[in-house]
Symmetry: C2
Subunit: 339 residues, 2 copies
């Protein structure tokens, strides 16, 4: 019998099918791979991109020249723009504001064809340090409410995308809906239990064990009990902290290992590179002022969500918001753990 499971963190129910699909039963979307071996984001073509905002580079090399390991540049087609003011106002009974924010490309390597799971720990650490650096910098802008970092492994026809290894940063003057739901439901739980829901989940998962993929010194990697997508995996720090920017040096290293490890496991389980997204979930900006989140971070816990794009959601799921989970999280975790 299929079962309904409650996703406590988003306040929604998920239907988990009892007949779990195995990895080979997913028809992987044809990944549109570019055949190019160099592009405008490669080392040596720095003059062809918008001017770099930040980089980690060899001592003595100048910005916008070769010598960098990782590099942040403005988006070529930004969804949000830095200049201007919010101009919040009513339009009849409705509300609007300008799209003030930031939209950056975080170039993960000077090499065109390297994959995150193959770039080596030193390089992965630089990528995470660049994430941290950009979050730290943008969190000073009081117009911004949220800084969202994510990776899209595929050439996405709808949005800006590159065959070069990149992550993206989008900073917004509002808190995106999914994050707002997480904050609201985590706060509801905290108000009731006076415990962080994510810390409770970590304890529960460690006790039960069957949804764990990997445990490192500082992180737990697991398939959530009521996830929305098959083989969805979370990487969460064991140490309570609402804010990704407070990650320690040791945690950066450990997180790098965890990301590479999970991506390698996904590749092994699917016997190919499944297309995936990952999303960094952290507390909103301006924590001391966040108003309704008065607990100042006791009720939220940053983490990374890795979502292989194995399926397209059906009309019913998109319309109702009731998602169907086609692979039981315990089975997905078993595949990923034992591969």
């Amino acid at each position: 019998m299929n079962e309904l499971r409650k996703d406590l963190i988003h306040g929604r129910w998920i239907e988990v099918l009892s007949e779990s699909k195995s990895p080979s039963e997913y028809l992987l979307e044809t990944v549109k791979r570019s055949t190019e071996t160099t592009c405008v984001l490669c080392q040596g073509r720095e003059k062809e991109t918008p001017k770099e905002i930040a980089s980690i580079r060899r001592t003595g090399t100048a910005p916008n020249t070769p010598g960098w390991w990782v590099r942040a540049i403005p988006s070529f087609k930004p969804l949000f723009q830095v200049e201007g003011n919010l101009d919040r106002r009513a339009v009849g009974i409705y509300d609007r504001m300008n799209n003030i924010g930031a939209n950056e490309i975080l170039i993960e390597s000077p090499e065109h064809n390297i994959k995150p799971e193959d770039m080596g720990l030193d390089q992965m650490i630089r990528v995470i340090k660049l994430y941290k650096d950009r979050v730290g910098d943008l969190s000073k802008d009081l117009r911004l409410r949220y800084i969202f970092i994510f990776k899209n492994s595929i050439i996405d026809p709808c949005r800006e995308s590159f065959s070069h290894p990149v992550s993206f940063l989008i900073a917004t003057p509002v808190i995106p809906k999914n994050i707002k739901d997480e904050l609201d439901y985590a706060k509801q739980y905290y108000d009731y239990k006076e415990r962080c829901i994510f810390c409770d989940i970590i304890r529960e998962e460690l006790k039960v064990g069957e949804r764990i993929i990997l445990e490192t010194r500082n992180f737990l990697c697991f398939c959530p009990y009521a996830s929305s997508f098959p083989f969805e995996s979370w990487i969460i720090p064991k140490r309570h902290n609402c804010d990704f920017h407070a990650i320690s040096g040791e945690e950066v290293e450990d997180m790098g290992l965890a990301i590479m490890n999970i991506l390698q496991r996904l590749k092994a389980v699917f016997k190919t590179e499944p297309p995936f997204n990952y999303f960094l979930h952290t507390a909103p900006n301006r924590v001391p002022r966040r108003g309704q989140w008065h607990t100042l971070g006791d009720d939220y816990h940053w983490h990374l969500e890795i979502i292989p794009r194995l399926i397209v959601k059906s009309g019913f799921e998109l319309g109702s918001g009731l998602f169907i989970q086609t692979t039981m999280p315990e089975k997905a975790a078993k595949y990923l753990r034992e591969v």
Copy 2:
């Protein structure tokens, strides 16, 4: 400059791009059309389907024989099942229950190749009456919290789908997330303003006019100010009522005209049949007991949402819940109004 608009009914912000895409700029997904001209849902093959639950048929014809105009049967592959008990319980810190509910196929016509917009008003009225009949019947089952009726015009590889004209009904023991959001935010508005947000929207749209596609005696058809999908259109009754089942005979007829009219307009604007879903949003079951929705329906207003499937949401949109609107609702309404 792009702008952010607040979707008051779902508590989320939408980015509306200033460079609106015109209808011809959408690459319509190739609609997988079956070449078959008859199927198990056609008249004459009643014995090959699960036994009918309800039908509207010629006087003197027996159930499960020819003579019907519309017919409800159980799904061949139900996501929810009628038999059993909910068995709600904790699993560690989590919550689960059984998938008790209903999953029905609402066959819209005995004819295999007819389209909703071409079936004629009499037949469309029967389809809406069948919706009403099924909602009325299932709302007596106290285990069920929500009855969701929707249409999926395309052969959906993920779910049960047919080349025969059908709608689907899924009844669930929980309120699906998107509906719960609507109920919560509509209640929040009602608590603050002591007015139905949907009634306010109807008044605002009638005043402004630029997002209206069509106005009939009983219904308003418009493109919402902060919709998530391009060319998304709503059909909403002018008379306040939370419950679709309370639709009057005159409203049934008028709603049929409105649905056919909007679908014809979409076809004309896109110069082909765009794939679409529509979703009937109504109040949850057991209204007198709904507890947190204590206003007994003053704060909710049933309606139909028509969503052409012109785009696939990007990784950023799915991960953040911040949707990008690629055609300004005012422009979409203009195309649909003037075609």
